[in-house]
Amino acid sequence: MTAVIPAGRSAPGAGFLRRSLAGRGVDAVLILLIPAVAFTALLFVYPYIYGITISLQPQGGGGALANYRNFFSDPYLRQTIWNTLRLALPAAAVSVGFAFPLAYRVRAAFRGRAVITALFLLPLTFGSVLLAEGMTEIFAPTGWVNLALGSVGLPHVQFIFNYTGTFIALLLTTVPFSFLLLAGMFGSIDRTLESAAATLGAGAAARFWRVLFPLMVPGLVTALTLAIVEAFAVFPSAVLVGQPDSATHVLSIPLYQAAQQQFNYSDASAIAVIMTIVELVVLAILFGIRSRLYRGPATSGKG
C-alpha cells in the first residue's frame, strides 16, 4: 500500500504532483516494469502489428484482403481451423479432466506424494519432439502397447500417424501442465472449510459439491484456458505422430509451409492472424464464463 500524505496548504509544486501521482499508484517503483514492457513491446506488440500490416500486402497482389480470401475460399485450408479446434478443445478438456482428480488428491499429504508429483511433471521436461519420437516406438504395430493388447486377445489398434497419435502426444504435455496449475490453486483452498462444512452436517458429497467445487471452478476454467492455448500451437506432434496432410492438418502446418517453404511471409502472417482470432474467440467465451463465477479468495479470514 502506498501511504499518501495529504498535501494540505503547502504550495502546489513538483512535490504536490509527485504525491498526487503516488495516490493513483504512479511512483518510482513503476520503473521496474520497464524491462517487461519493453520486452513485450519489442518481441510481441511490434512484430504482431508488423505481421498484420504485411498480411494486408499480399505478394501475389489482388487487394489487401487477398490472403484472407484465398484462405477461406480453399476448403483444404479452411478445414485447418476445424482440425485445430477438434484437437485442442477435447485435448484441453480431457487433460483438465485427468489432472483434476490427481491435483485434488495431492492436496492431502500422503506417503509418496513427492514421488507421484515428480513423476507427473517429468513429461514437461522432455519436449514434444522427444515425446513424439518415443511414441512412434511404443505405439508402433510391434510396439509394446500393441503387443500387450495382443497378448490379452485384444485387436491391434492404430495409435499413431492419425488423430489419436496427436491427441495422445498433446495429453502428455497438457496433463502435467494442468496438474501443476490445479495443484497450486487447490492448495490455496482453506482446509478448515471442509471441517466447517462437516460439522454443519455436510457429508462427503455435499462438502465437495457445495463447498470445494464452487471454489475450484475458477481454477478449472483457468487451467482449461491455458491448456487450450498450449494445444492450439500443436505442431511437432501433428507432424510426427499425426496425419499432417488430412486429420491433423492444423493451422500451424500451412503457416509453417507458407513461411518456411514458400517464403510467402504475407500469406503466413495472414494465417497467423486467423489463428490468433480463432483462439481469442475461444478464450473470450471461456473468460466470459469465468467472469460469471465466484472470483474472490478461496480462503477465509486471516488464517
Binding site: 466447517a196 462444512a197 455435499a206 477465509s300
Partner: protein, 348 residues
C-alpha cells in the same frame, strides 16, 4: 468423553482424557500450544479419529459417527466461512444440509444473525466484513443448527485486542441468554477465566486441574497451573520446616527465610517450588517475610509500575507497585505468607 486418547504415530496428543459436560455448562480447555486442547476438540467434533476411548452424549454414542452426524456447532480460529456464499447462505448451510424448507431456513438464519446483530449484512459476502463480524457470522452459523454442544477453537485468537474483548463479552452474553452447552478451547487464561463456568487445564494431553475459575485462579494445584494463572514468579527453594497442605511452612533461599503456604504436603529439608503473583509482592517489609532486592527494569504501566528486581542470587522477581521505584534502587520486598504458595519438588 471417557478415557479418550489420540496418538500421532508415537506421540500421544491426548492421554486418557476424561471430560464430562453438564447441560448448559461453559467449559474452557486451557493450555499452551501443543498440550492437546485443539486435538481434543477435533476428536470431539469428529474431525480426527480417536485412538482409544469413547464419546457419549446422554445415551447416544458419538465416537463411531462421522463429523456430519454429530450435530455440534463449531467455531474455528480462521472463521472458516464459505467465501463463495453470502452471509445468509453461510448461516443457512447447516439448515440446508438438514433439509429445512426454504422459508423456515430464511427465518432461522435471520434469527441467528439477529442474535449477533448482523442481520443488516445478510446479503454481503464474508470478504466484505471485518474479522470480528466474520467471526460473529461463524457463531451465528454454528447457532443456527441449534446444536447440542457448541465447540469453539480459539475463536478470538485472530482478532486484535479491542475486538477480542468486545466479542468475548458477546460470547458471554450469548451463553447467558441461550444457555448453550459450550466447550471453548483457548491458550489465553483471561478468556478462560472470564467466560467459563469451569476451567480445565491440560498438560501433555492430560487434565492437570479442573475447577471453577476462582478455584484455579486462587488455588493452582501445581507450579504448571500457577504459571498459567499469572504466577510469574516461580522460584526454587528448600523447605526449612515441613507441613501439610494449607499449613504455613518455612522455606529458605540461600540465607533468606520466607514463610509460604503449602499447597501439598511438604517434608522438611526437601526441595520446594515457591510461586507468587507480581501484584501480590509488596514494596515494604512485612515483619518476618521480606527480601532485599535491586530494581533492574522499571516499566510504566499506567496506574502502577512493573519492576524486575534482582535477588542476591541473580534471580529476577517481578512485582507491580504504585510506589515510586527507579532502576538501580535498592528495595525491601514483602510477600504475604498466604499469597506465597509452596509446592513439593523443584519445578522452577
Amino acid at each position: 468423553m471417557r478415557h479418550v486418547s489420540r496418538s500421532f504415530g508415537k506421540t500421544e496428543a491426548l492421554r486418557d482424557l476424561d471430560l464430562v459436560l453438564a447441560a448448559g455448562e461453559f467449559v474452557a480447555l486451557l493450555g499452551p500450544s501443543g498440550c492437546g486442547k485443539s486435538t481434543a476438540l477435533a476428536c470431539l467434533a469428529g474431525l480426527q479419529p480417536l485412538s482409544g476411548g469413547e464419546i457419549w452424549i446422554d445415551k447416544r454414542r458419538l465416537d463411531t459417527l462421522p463429523a456430519e452426524r454429530r450435530g455440534f456447532g463449531m467455531v474455528f480460529q480462521s472463521y472458516a466461512l464459505f467465501p463463495h456464499l453470502t452471509v445468509q447462505k453461510n448461516v443457512e448451510f447447516g439448515l440446508r444440509m438438514r433439509k429445512v424448507k426454504a422459508a423456515q431456513r430464511h427465518e432461522r438464519a435471520l434469527a441467528a444473525l439477529r442474535t449477533v446483530q448482523l442481520e443488516d449484512h445478510a446479503q454481503k459476502h464474508p470478504a466484505q466484513l471485518s474479522g470480528g463480524q466474520q467471526q460473529r457470522v461463524a457463531i451465528a452459523r454454528a447457532l443456527a443448527i441449534e446444536p447440542d454442544i457448541v465447540l469453539m477453537d480459539e475463536p478470538l485468537s485472530n482478532l486484535d485486542a479491542a475486538l477480542r474483548i468486545g466479542l468475548r463479552t458477546e460470547i458471554k452474553r450469548l451463553h447467558q441468554n441461550l444457555g448453550l452447552t459450550t466447550l471453548y478451547v483457548t491458550h489465553d487464561q483471561e478468556e478462560a477465566l472470564s467466560l467459563a463456568d469451569r476451567v480445565v487445564i491440560l498438560r501433555d494431553g492430560c487434565v492437570e486441574q479442573a475447577g471453577t475459575p476462582e478455584a484455579v485462579y486462587n488455588r493452582p494445584v501445581s507450579p504448571y497451573v500457577a504459571k498459567f494463572m499469572g504466577y510469574r514468579n516461580v522460584l526454587a527453594a528448600h523447605a526449612a520446616s515441613g507441613g501439610d497442605a494449607g499449613e504455613v511452612v518455612e522455606v529458605r533461599r540461600g540465607a533468606q527465610v520466607l514463610h509460604a503456604t503449602a499447597v501439598e504436603p511438604i517434608t522438611a529439608g526437601s526441595e520446594v517450588t515457591i510461586a507468587v503473583r507480581p501484584e501480590d509482592v509488596l514494596v515494604s517489609s512485612i515483619d518476618d517475610n521480606g527480601l532485599v532486592a535491586v530494581a533492574e527494569v522499571v516499566e510504566f504501566m499506567g496506574r502502577e509500575i512493573q519492576v524486575g528486581a534482582g535477588l542476591p542470587d541473580g534471580q529476577v522477581l517481578h512485582l507491580r507497585t504504585e510506589k515510586p521505584v527507579a532502576a538501580g534502587d535498592s528495595i525491601r520486598i514483602g510477600v504475604p505468607r498466604q499469597r506465597l504458595l509452596a509446592y513439593a519438588g523443584n519445578a522452577a
